[in-house]
Symmetry: C2
């Protein structure tokens, strides 16, 4: 198909397609003449993925490039989900640092908390994983506002996270015959977390309403 | 305590304290002279909450004001968590709208999907809940990139969300004797979602490593 047809098929404007090509996110089409190129189904899929990552995922062009590289490399390896997961950040906002000695103590405590959890769960996650470091940072910030987790609480949440992860992997596997698993994995990781958070909010609302016996919306 | 002591106790600069006071986020201290005011423990707590919401939570001053209003109103009602949850948004990025007729069809389908789920779960969440609308929007975006959920899949995630919500409420209740439950609820809602997402990532990594038998970090 021509670039105009590619644009129609994906809803991505021609100018953006050219931009993604220049930035190396989209492979060139097959040249059919000096100024014409032919695009295929592979380009449609890739473009939909770029669109999803940059709009829904809110990723920068640089991060999108990293993720796509991970996608391309992962297609020949077993660890697709793992490799892509490393490339996709989970944002943790840190407060401005306070007293250096206090900070160092808080860092050490949070890292120990995560290491203990991983051992208790018997998770095969190396200390070098960005998510290990991210979790330590998030727990440190919560302690700072006096909202830290007890070890038992954290383990209970981790057990549920394990069940969620198993559903995630089943979902990723179910996609395999349709398009590349790696591409599905990206969508699964980058784009499904609002769904999980919204389900949690709805479930919280249900629990609160049931406990207080108020099924209908408040007037307030 | 004086404003300088309040600043030291919370790590919030004096200029920021004055800004929050002008913006109506922080109640005035008790005037002890024309240019002096006395602040108490209540101000320390409120300031820590404002700091948490604006830095960790990444909320704007306007949204912070809404949340604080919900906190203040909720302290006299049973539905603390619910009221605050409504005031705290879950960001769902929407793609630019395409063909109007297609969009309307996609909206209707997503809304029906959410309504069915809520009925199947027997959740007491009214259709007017912002989270019902948010979930429909998130599901619509996922369908757009051909990554929608099957009804059974969504219900399985919803079951786990219910378990997470029960842990959340237990956690909120445990805080009650220390500071206002409403303040804890805000932190629980706004600041703990990165922890849940990171636990999910770690659990995914564990599952992938176990399935592929690779415990150690990759060289790639």
């Amino acid at each position: 198909m021509k670039i105009s047809e590619l644009s129609r098929a994906t809803g991505v404007p021609v100018a953006s397609i050219k931009y993604f090509r220049r930035e190396g996110l989209l492979p060139a089409g097959k040249a059919t003449a000096a100024t014409l190129a032919e695009y295929g189904e592979r380009h449609v899929q890739r473009l939909r993925l770029i669109k999803a990552l940059t709009t829904l995922g809110g990723l920068s062009i640089a991060t999108t490039r990293e993720v796509l590289t991970a996608v391309d490399q992962a297609q020949t390896s077993d660890g697709a989900l793992g490799a892509i997961s490393y490339a996709l950040p989970v944002p943790v906002t840190a407060s401005p640092a306070g007293d250096a000695e206090e900070e160092a103590k808080a860092d050490t405590a949070a890292e120990a908390e995560v290491a203990e959890l991983i051992e208790a769960m018997d998770w095969w996650t190396p200390a070098s994983s960005p998510h290990v470091q991210g979790l330590a940072a998030a727990l440190k910030e919560l302690r700072r506002v006096d909202a830290g987790y007890e070890p038992g609480e954290l383990a209970a949440y981790a057990e549920l996270a394990r069940s969620v992860a198993r559903l995630d992997l089943e979902r990723a596997a179910a996609f395999e015959d349709r398009v590349a698993l790696a591409e599905r994995a990206v969508i699964l990781l980058a784009l499904s977390s609002p769904v999980l958070e919204l389900l949690r909010r709805l479930a919280q609302e249900n629990e609160v309403r049931r406990r207080t016996g108020r099924r209908e919306p408040d007037d307030a």
